[in-house]
């Protein structure tokens, strides 16, 4: 009893440690997004003017604009206002989109979420399935073939996979739409609409999954190789247990904790991959929003998106950690 109590409190302090670390990161990011623009030559007014098609400003207009944007206040006062705004959920106003950053984020986030959720079953089933298949009989022909293929895949940067899929299935053999998330004129029928959305998401989700398949393949192959020489598995083989029963109950079940632990790690790589994938497929999610901000030199939007995205990622993978540790507590 005492042992389990100690273990529990250790787990809880681990989760707390993670939470505190995440708070530190967010604080650092806020500081960074505040300082970077101010360390650069010029000020936000220059930025606004140089990046737009604009006429020259007279000195008076310039000062008026600076006062309006609060740039004449002392630095600490500006910082206070900035932090206060963020805490209130105000990430700034994008002049290019003529909309607050938070509303832009809110409209882009569901699309990115959809891609990640759709890719989840694909890479889990394909990656883990192939991993178990190859790992239960290591160094056979199947293992060599699949591992070779995966090595090749591992050597493709995520955006290269996306471009390849787009070129092959979007243009050479146009099975799927090449860009966008919806048809130009969404139909009134809900079922057709849902189908169209899934149809548009299929190729980007596949591109997103491709990168994770490799990671989960290596992980589950290694674990399955270790399991394949464990006595209870050998015993099961001797009792004539093969096929799906062996794969699911003997391998799958024992892989579960490792896979879950890896999943919270995966979120960061998924997010960085999804940015590239969306840009390649012009998918209207966070990645495209971010890319547009980069191209238009819209730094307010860029920083807002990065802050918002970081908050989402950090909170979600902390949530996964909590779930994993509570699962581990149950045994």
């Amino acid at each position: 009893m005492a042992v389990t109590m100690a273990k529990q409190s250790e787990q809880h302090s681990g989760l707390l440690y993670g939470l505190v670390n995440r708070m530190i990161i967010l604080a650092l990011l806020i500081l960074l997004t505040f300082l970077l623009p101010r360390l650069m030559p010029g000020d936000p007014v220059d930025m606004l003017i140089s990046s737009d098609v604009a006429r020259d400003l007279s000195a008076a207009e310039r000062t008026a604009l600076q006062v309006q944007m609060g740039l004449n206040a002392p630095l600490w006062e500006q910082f206070g206002g900035y932090v206060l705004g963020i805490l209130k959920g105000d990430l700034g106003y994008s002049a290019h989109h003529a909309a607050p950053v938070t509303s832009l984020l809110a409209s882009a986030l569901p699309w990115t979420g959809l891609l990640i959720i759709l890719s989840l079953p694909v890479f889990l089933i394909v990656g883990v399935g192939l991993g178990i298949e190859a790992g239960q009989r290591p160094h056979r022909r199947l293992d060599h073939a699949v591992t070779g293929l995966m090595t090749l895949f591992a050597s493709l940067p995520p955006f290269a996979v996306a471009v390849l899929l787009l070129a092959v299935f979007g243009f050479l053999w146009p099975l799927f739409p090449a860009s966008g998330a919806e048809p130009l004129f969404p139909s009134d029928d809900l079922v057709t609409n849902i189908f169209e959305i899934l149809y548009h998401a299929a190729l980007p989700a596949l591109a997103l999954a491709a990168h994770e398949i490799v990671r989960f393949y290596y992980l589950s192959r290694g674990e399955a190789m270790k399991l394949s020489v464990r006595p209870f598995v050998i015993n099961a083989y001797a009792r004539g247990i093969t096929g799906w029963r062996a794969r699911i109950h003997y391998y799958g079940r024992n892989l579960l904790p490792v896979l879950l632990a890896r999943l919270s790690d995966s979120l960061s790589t998924l997010v960085s991959t999804v940015l590239y994938v969306e840009i390649v497929f012009s998918y209207p999610g966070i990645g495209t929003l971010l890319y547009g901000a980069i191209l238009e030199r819209d730094f307010v939007l860029l920083q807002g998106v990065i802050l918002g995205l970081a908050t989402c990622v950090l909170m979600t993978n902390w949530g996964i950690d909590v779930v994993v540790s509570s699962l581990a507590e149950r045994g």
Binding site: I24, I25, P157, F159, A160, V163, I294, I306, A310, V313
Partner: protein, 274 residues
């Protein structure tokens, strides 16, 4: 002990000599390279005058590939070297120093590990538009934390060995022990980490190039692929996209194979040692 000492010296010499040769070759290579000029022959298919065709503003693709070679590969190698050096310094401090220094370093590593590095890269790259040196600094400074935990574990294990204890007894400082005793014995693992790091850095360089976040004058294989995106519906995609894509894939594959070999070698070495 004597052989070990010469061992390290030789290893460092090898590494530095290798780098010097690489740099020399790069300079030589760049001085012979035809300039990457725009021309009137846009989107030409591969021919005898342009072996890999030309792009949308008439630049020769082959010249582009060769110009981008050091900008992608050398940047990745140097960034990894910098990251590895930082990681060794940090890991040694975390392993040997006690108290708040070690705690601080480990905390920093944990913190940097949680945040998707792409976000930090994006933030900095968008503001500074890094060129050759900027890329090296940016990638080196944002990726050193990857190797600290592994290196710290290795150093912690090596510092308990008798040769280290003996040297300490004779009054040697930790710097001396690290340089003459600890690092030589974990050298194979370090080279393995280095090669793996090169892979990661290459992907980052190519990725930033692909996003157009580098200095626009810096041609990388990633930025060439980005340029090809607009022509996917034409046959021009064939010679605009495939050459940089294949070069990137080939280099990453090479690094992977080399890393695997080094890993196997270091495992064998560990068995010999223990």
């Amino acid at each position: 002990m004597v052989t070990r000492f010469y061992g390290t010296l030789k290893q460092w010499q090898n590494l530095l000599a290798g780098l010097a040769v690489l740099l020399f070759l790069a300079v030589l290579f760049l001085s012979f390279l035809p300039s990457y000029d725009v021309g009137y022959n846009t989107l030409q298919a591969p021919s005898r005058s342009h072996w890999l065709g030309t792009n949308d503003i008439g630049q020769d693709v082959l010249t582009g590939i060769l110009t981008a070679l050091p900008n992608t590969v050398l940047v990745a190698v140097l960034a990894s070297l910098m990251a590895l050096f930082l990681a060794i310094v940090m890991a040694a401090n975390a392993a040997i120093a006690k108290g708040w220094v070690a705690a601080l370093i480990l905390r920093l590593v944990d913190i940097l590990h949680i945040i998707p590095s792409i976000l930090v890269l994006l933030l900095f790259a968008a503001w500074i538009q890094p060129g050759f040196l900027g890329m090296i600094l940016l990638i080196g400074l944002t990726s050193w934390h990857d190797d600290v935990r592994v290196l710290r574990a290795l150093i912690l294990r090596e510092r308990t060995r008798e040769n280290v204890a003996f040297a300490r007894q004779m009054g040697a400082g930790w710097g001396y022990c690290l340089w003459r005793h600890i690092l030589p014995s974990v050298w194979p693992a370090i080279t393995g980490l280095f090669v793996q790091h090169i892979r990661q850095s290459t992907m980052k360089v190519a990725g930033l190039g692909f996003l157009g976040l580098t200095d626009p004058r810096l041609v990388t294989w990633g930025s060439m692929m980005q340029d090809a995106l607009d022509y996917l519906h034409m046959s021009a995609a064939l010679w605009l996209l495939l050459p940089p894509g294949l070069c990137l894939c080939l280099f990453l594959l090479l690094a992977l194979a080399l890393g695997r070999r080094l890993e196997r070698y270091s495992l064998a070495e560990e068995r010999d040692l223990s």
